[in-house]
């Protein structure tokens, strides 16, 4: 396949009539038509493969218990109900279990608060640092930037083991502070690298103009650059929230009840004797739903965020 595949635009010979002696052209037209159909077919297959599991969980969350466990599975023919959501949010889940999830609403709230707090702190600390790394030349700048990026690729267990031992000693296990501080360290490097890229895209000449007109560097940053990178700031905020929201390893190890986050709660549904898949699915949708909405808001920056600003789209 050529990298510049023309798709179905049918540019060559689009207007040509099937005149005698034009058989080569006609063959080419047929080939293009065939490839256009194949591409569309492939698109359909790709969409089914990547969206079916999402449809599965959403539809299961809307099913009554007797529609969940059926053969053949009821993919479309079921009576939708919000019972599962009510049960999960009210804490009246119907499964029999030793490890109950009595207060899923509280766990969602924990996730939300921890995400907001660590992201907020990361923005306050990280944006000024990103500005300096983008604008000011000093010795060791490149090395410092790379070191900050390197913190993102530390194996989580390399951090988790010492943090757990430390937290046990200073009684930070199962506290908000404990998780916020950890997530701050993840968010901070993300904020610095993302914002460094966005700030570097604003021409420095704009700031110099403002500084000649009599404001200091801080004034130039606050009045000129910051408003210009506001979309980037928003994207970075959402990405940081998203990563914190999805985090599981640290949350499951370092929290048990007081600061338990939503993904941990969802994983607890499995430890029951008879998993009520409808309830579990509703919990899953409540966790993944906000993420989907956020992701759609920042889709242009998402890949860039996932590789910590190592590439620009």
């Amino acid at each position: 396949m050529t990298p510049r595949h023309e798709g179905a635009s049918g540019t060559t010979g689009a207007g040509s009539l099937p005149a005698p002696g034009n058989q080569v052209k006609r063959a080419k037209q047929w080939r293009e038509l065939a490839s256009a159909i194949l591409v569309r077919l492939a698109v359909v297959v790709i969409l089914i493969v990547f969206l079916f599991p999402i449809y599965w969980i959403v539809s299961t969350s809307l099913k009554q218990q007797n529609d969940v466990a059926t053969l053949p599975p009821h993919l479309f023919d079921f009576h939708p109900t919000l019972d599962n959501y009510v049960a999960v949010l009210q804490g009246s889940t119907t499964f029999q279990t030793a490890v109950a999830v009595p207060d899923f609403t509280a766990d969602l709230l924990h996730s939300f608060l921890i995400g907001i707090a660590s992201t907020g702190l990361a923005l306050i600390l990280g944006t000024p640092a990103a500005y300096v790394l983008a604008r000011i030349r000093f010795r060791g700048r490149a090395l410092l930037a790379i070191s900050i990026l390197a913190t993102r690729i530390l194996p989580p267990l390399g951090v988790l083991v010492p943090i757990f031992v430390l937290y046990s000693k200073v009684h930070l296990i199962d506290t908000f502070i404990g998780l916020i501080v950890l997530y701050l360290s993840f968010s901070l490097s993300l904020v610095i690298w993302m914002m460094r890229g966005f700030i570097a895209e604003v021409p420095g000449a704009l700031e110099e103009c403002a500084m000649i007109d009599g404001t200091g560097r801080l004034g130039a940053l606050l009045r000129i650059t910051l408003p210009l990178v506001a979309p980037g700031l928003a994207a970075t905020t959402i990405l940081s929230l998203l990563f914190n929201w999805n985090e599981f390893l640290f949350a499951v190890t370092l929290t048990s009840q007081t600061a338990r986050t939503a993904p941990v709660a969802a994983s607890l549904f499995l430890s029951s004797h008879a998993v009520v898949w409808g309830n579990l699915s509703a919990a899953c949708v409540l966790i993944a739903g906000p993420i989907f909405i956020f992701a759609l808001m920042v889709q242009r920056h998402l890949v860039r965020g996932l590789v910590s600003g190592a590439v620009r789209e």
Binding site: S9, F50, L154, L188, F248, V264, S267, V307
Partner: protein, 306 residues
């Protein structure tokens, strides 16, 4: 002091001196808090994990005594460790390779103007932003033994129930498939971005010269995409190497130890058996592996620019 000197000029100079001072030290003030916090939150754990790896900290020895490199000697002769290395290699290699090939194929297939392509790219984002735990829970339902959808499909075809997650020969493949589902879109989007940032002139020249599709791909697309391919592969490899959530929820390392990667094994040592010293030593090994990954990336990318 001669009052006549206090003209506007002097005042301006004073003010600009003060501003010069502020501007001179401002960057340090802006940089320092973030760097200090980050240093504290990364250098401390690294230092502490290395220290722990040299002790026998654990249930029997809460405060741990120094035992030198004994943990690493134990690791060298630990069959469970080597088994987890093998599983990690299969998981990381299999997942990243499949994601790369699939993602690149889809990116090439759809690299053109077609209506609805933007929508497709948007929808492809959904798997990769989905909370990994939720992804794993969803797939556990799909893999489920009685009412799972895959078993239903196979039974329609007259094939047996393979026990996706409980079959020791299939479990690793089933887990890899979930990772491939979640992260192929990442490869697709990243490589699409790469394809679209390529210059068009060389491709026009190649077409004029009558170069075939395969030749164009090998001699133009691949070299031009080199850096982005390296970034995609290494970032994904590091991520796959660290994978915890998906395996934890899907199989918990089982059946037996067939899906027990280094991450899972290290987690068990530290948090199931509370051998923090040994677990820390395993973490140090992982730290070194990731450092090697990164060194490879830097070397490969530098060679290209040189």
């Amino acid at each position: 002091m001669d009052r006549s000197l206090e003209g506007p000029i002097v005042v301006t100079r004073k003010r600009s001196t003060r501003r010069w001072r502020v501007d001179r030290f401002l960057p340090a003030f802006m940089l320092a808090p973030a760097v200090l916090v980050l240093a504290a939150l990364t250098l401390f754990p690294i230092g502490y994990v290395i220290y722990l790896s040299l002790t026998d900290t654990g249930v029997n020895s809460p405060n741990g005594s120094f035992i030198g490199l004994d943990n690493f000697r134990l690791i060298k002769d630990d069959p469970a460790f080597w088994d987890s290395v093998r599983v990690t290699g299969l998981f990381t290699g299999g997942a990243v390779l499949a994601e790369f090939v699939l993602g690149f194929a889809i990116a090439l297939l759809l690299n053109g103007k077609m209506r609805g392509l933007g929508l497709l790219r948007t929808l492809m984002l959904l798997p990769m932003v989905m909370t990994p735990v939720i992804v794993a829970l969803t797939w556990r339902m799909l893999y489920g033994p009685t009412y799972g959808y895959f078993d239903y499909l196979l039974s329609r075809l007259g094939l047996g129930q393979p026990n996706w997650l409980d079959n020791s020969r299939l479990a690793l493949v089933s887990v890899i498939a979930v990772d491939v589902w979640q992260w192929t879109p990442f490869m697709f989007l990243l490589l699409t971005a790469g394809l679209q940032s390529m210059p068009t002139e060389p491709f026009e020249a190649a077409r004029v010269d009558g170069a075939g599709r395969l030749a164009t791909f090998r001699h133009l697309t691949l070299p031009l995409m080199r850096n982005i391919i390296i970034i995609a592969l290494i970032f994904r490899a590091i991520d796959a190497f660290d994978t915890f959530d998906i395996i934890w929820v899907l199989t918990n390392g089982g059946p037996g130890t067939t899906t027990q990667t280094l991450t899972i094994y290290s987690y068990f040592q530290s948090f199931r058996w509370f051998n923090f010293g040994y677990g820390a030593a395993l973490s140090v090994v992982m730290l070194v592996v990731v450092a090697v990954f990164c060194a490879i990336m830097v070397l490969l990318m530098n060679r290209e620019t040189a």
